[in-house]
Point group: C2
Chain length 358, copies 2
């Protein structure tokens, strides 16, 4: 596969508190195996791209940790954002940077913190998306065939098929839709042509940058000027000055919802955005049992709990459907139905001046 893989590792993931903290965002947690989500994301593409073509974009605070974790990446392939500016500035930057290396570059953009069950199948879609992007100058996004009326995901309405690669159809993306109500999500599911927006993209650097120039000139122009003036990403001060002035805007909102080059692939490789603790159910419950990550808990008459521990022995007696996370100086016990509310909990901790736990 001749493309670059750009892994977006900018998030903080407060909904994984107390595992996720200011100095350890979600992508650096080991949630599904003994590897961090970021390592899993890197390893997932290793069979199809060389490390020279894997680029990680992250907050400058995490560069050291990431270098220590993923040791075989060329140092210049870890790009530190001086400030967070959402996805559009970051994608513009990398697209322009890679275009300079090779004007024909193709890049796949992957979030660092998602779960993918069938990795072979994922790579098949990635290869097809790359080919569609290369052949047709399209902005490809991977849509996920919904498994249930999820209200926590954005959706994409797919129209007619624009092209097909290896039996995989790429359909016009007719509309990007925000997180729906339960009722609307159920309608989407029964309609059949609404896919989850995975935030995974594939395009020629030239094509996405030209669309950014069209729809987000305030981003494209400073980025273009920066490179045209001969600056490199290693020119820290100039990079920071330029990047900090870019408007914070998502690529979805800034480009994907507006461009007529956008197509969506109906993918089905088992995907989860790992938005909250209940995502660990992807690990599947043993019958009448509990999911555990980290240490082995001792559970008595307890079912369907997700137990995460970083050392402490967790014991459950007569409990069901709980998330229990024991992380050093903090312990969370949440009903699984309330896993989304952990963001509010983190706000409450902040209000109570308990920042030292964040």
């Amino acid at each position: 596969m001749g493309c670059y893989v750009v892994i977006m590792a900018g998030g903080s993931g407060t909904r994984f508190w107390p595992a996720s903290r200011a100095d350890r965002p979600k992508q650096l947690l080991k949630l599904f195996s003994d590897k961090t989500l970021l390592e899993e994301t890197v390893d997932r593409v290793r069979p199809v791209v060389s490390t020279e073509r894997i680029i990680i974009v992250c907050n400058h605070r995490y560069v050291r940790q990431i270098r220590e974790t993923i040791t075989d990446l060329p140092p210049e392939n870890i790009i530190a954002e001086p400030v967070g500016r959402n996805t559009a500035p970051c994608i513009a930057l990398v697209a322009r940077y890679l275009q300079q290396i090779n004007p024909q570059s193709v890049m796949a953009v992957l979030p660092a913190d998602h779960y993918i069950r069938d990795e072979d199948r994922f790579r098949k879609f990635l290869a097809a998306a790359t080919q569609a992007a290369e052949n047709e100058d399209l902005l490809v996004t991977l849509g996920i065939l919904p498994q249930r009326p999820h209200t926590g995901y954005g959706y994409i309405r797919a129209g007619e098929t624009r092209c097909s690669v290896d039996g995989i159809a790429f359909q016009t993306a007719e509309e990007f839709l925000e997180k729906p109500s339960q009722h609307v999500a159920e309608d989407f599911l029964s309609e059949g042509n609404y896919y989850w927006n995975s935030g995974m993209f594939c395009w020629k650097c030239r094509v996405i940058f030209s669309e950014i120039r069209r729809f987000l000139p305030d981003i494209a122009q400073p980025v273009d000027d920066f490179f045209s003036a001969g600056f490199a990403l290693s020119d820290e001060e100039a990079f920071r000055d330029m990047f900090a002035r870019l408007p914070a805007i998502s690529i979805d909102y800034g480009v994907m919802e507006k461009s007529d080059k956008v197509v969506v692939a109906r993918s089905d490789f088992g995907w989860n955005d790992v938005g909250s603790w209940d995502a660990l159910e992807e690990l599947s419950f043993p019958e009448d049992g509990n999911i555990s990550v980290g240490g082995a808990p001792v559970m008595l008459n307890s079912r369907r709990c997700i137990v995460y521990s970083e050392g402490a022995l967790v014991a459950g007696v007569g409990v069901e459907d709980l998330v229990i996370a024991a992380c050093g100086d903090a312990v969370l016990v949440a009903h699984k139905n309330n896993a989304q509310d952990i963001r509010r909990l983190v706000e409450k901790l902040s209000e109570k001046n308990l920042q030292k736990y964040l």
Copy 2:
């Protein structure tokens, strides 16, 4: 009040795991205040007896901790049992020991790890019991007027009134009954003359020792021989040799169920044997709130939980009726209805070779 108070601090309290451990039994936990249960028990009688007349009997392993906690007790008033032998040998020993100091000694026997809500009222009953024991040569036990059909307590069936002190009636104890079924407990409650067996006693040392001699000569004789031979409790080797050979038997089973000198006072000072975590409900829930001991938890949409922490921040989201106990290297999450099963959990930990957590 001219009597001695003998505080029995022999228990281990596995049902308070992970707070209670091998090196820290229940009576040394701070469950209801910033004082341990043992300290609370001592402080409860301080207004009516001098420290010279307070005696603590405990396992030899806890002597140092107890001395460090209760610093004003004469050192010889902390009696270390070389081995656990249930209550009858311990009571025989102390009764014979105090008789030697003064043949007319009266002793009250109090467990170290119970909760008492109305301490003034408790002391009123204690004073009346002492007087009844002194005047009538009775073996007095404090029965507790049941508040609900509790299946975790033993019961005493009370008969006719034998004497009365300060308006408190002392009734013949007709029968000692084991923990009943729910159905039987309900019958007891409606009958009205069945009281909870609190394990609190009051008697002349001479009278109880004579009854032990009658019903448990295998205990009375070696104890008597020990003191008659001129040995003291400080003669460690002789004490250990004698005590270890005594049969392990409870005073209830060995004497109280058999003697015709036993009377029971119908007491009502708010009592709980603190047998499991749900006993902390004695602290009363704030409306729509949670009970916390140790650190202050942060609870979101959570109700009727008991949260015990020794340092870690505990956070709850959308949970109800749980016991959450975070104690260093171990975290317990139990449904309150299953608080009794923690004994089984501790067995399971032992089976799994997790003794280091016990």
